[in-house]
Symmetry: C2
Subunit: 250 residues, 2 copies
């Protein structure tokens, strides 16, 4: 089994190289953590949208769907949106049963870029062990796609990729990886048990702390708090019901 | 002082972000190691060229310059070229006094992309400590640009970036860096004294060993064997004579 790691949106291979593989999209701070949380709290679906304008348009064109609008630009809520990009906002009271149009700087682009893979999982530290078990179960080659921050390498996404590699491998089931994967796995081994420390070291993490979003950081640093397996399919992120990922998923 | 590290050609910032900075271009296996070696052995100049066709054209158009043609595609010499991309070929006997047209898969693109910086240094493990001292002397912010391998992160370029960061910092002179730089510096600290081991682990290194180019790997893994400071200026790589980098350079 092979699982390669790509450090930023720019480095995600083209669709033809992703065909036949499972892709995993990671944007720990905070898009994929928020998506995992929203779905775990009962949101109906999360639709990744590239621009705020497009989100307003889709909401206007489909009033009967009662979309919530969520997302950020420069880490703050978009004017006119219902929700920002903090996973702490996506409570059951706010999101249960609702479809969400969601646009963030890095995460949305990453999901769209990874869409050429046969399956696309949305991962964060919260569900990294579950995603890893699913990949091991599938025995499919995987492309682990870190969103990165503004097209640059990020510690937080890389350590999550490393966690997935670490949990994928089992006795007699080694996982081959590329140079980025070797570094990611080593980073996870070094910071396992103190992931919040690493997130505080990261450039994006320090920026969030400056903005007073320390609580978000601590929430995003939690490892394995959910076994939900959100998948991106037909333009939206959902939790598969009873299907592909049945027993593990919901 | 600040020095950020960029993992692949794709991640090198646009020219406007490089203005006012010193750029350092790294392609340890093997382009920048070969360029450093060619100039240290007396080559007159190395002209990075994007395609073999362009190299043939420039040579035809300037017969009086007696260009040597050097470079590779898929790690092997280009048909009709004088030299491949092995630093071991660029001996004094072959290159002294000669200008070289040089085209490689990753390194040439990286040099062209970094050209927007105020100064562009060519670095390899061979001259990494000297490049670091030069950056510290200049007290300019730096963009350390790894070529990577086919637009992916590479261990060998990253560890070289880490070496430069490590040697830049002095007592009372800390160097701030981005997330990639933190990982690069840590990687260097872990492999300092056994860089050849790391190069053997790298995807590109394993590929070279498969091709029987183990000696190249060992040559490229040498740290600090030269103090030459090749710079890219006006379309070519030269050693500045008596100028900017005088005493250190030649």
């Amino acid at each position: 089994m092979r699982a390669d790691v790509y450090p930023t949106v720019l480095n995600i291979p083209p669709a033809e190289e992703l065909a036949g593989k499972a892709a995993v999209v990671i944007d720990v701070l905070r898009a994929t953590t928020t998506i995992c949380t929203a779905l775990a709290n009962g949101a109906d679906t999360v639709v990744p949208i590239l621009t705020p304008e497009e989100a307003f348009q889709v909401a206007r064109d489909n009033p009967e769907r009662q979309f919530l609008l969520g997302g950020e630009r420069k880490a703050v809520i978009i004017p006119g949106f219902n929700l920002g990009n903090s996973p702490l906002e996506y409570t059951e009271a706010r999101v249960k049963g609702r479809p969400i149009l969601f646009t963030t700087t890095n995460g949305t682009r990453a999901i769209r870029r990874a869409a050429g893979a046969d399956r696309v999982y949305i991962a964060s530290l919260l569900n990294a062990p579950a995603v890893a078990r699913e990949l091991a179960r599938l025995e499919m080659d995987a492309a682990i796609c870190c969103a990165g921050t503004h097209d640059q390498f990020s510690l937080e996404d890389t350590v999550c990729a490393g966690a997935i590699l670490e949990f994928m491998a089992g006795p007699g089931q080694p996982v081959e990886t590329n140079d980025m994967g070797l570094v990611a796995r080593e980073l996870f081994r070094r910071y396992d048990g103190r992931l919040a420390d690493l997130l505080h070291l990261s450039s994006h993490g320090r920026n969030l702390v400056k903005l007073g979003l320390q609580d978000d950081l601590l929430f995003c640093a939690q490892l394995g708090t959910t076994t939900h397996l959100p998948v991106f399919t037909e333009g939206q992120v959902v939790l598969p019901h009873g299907g592909l990922s049945g027993s593990d998923g919901v």
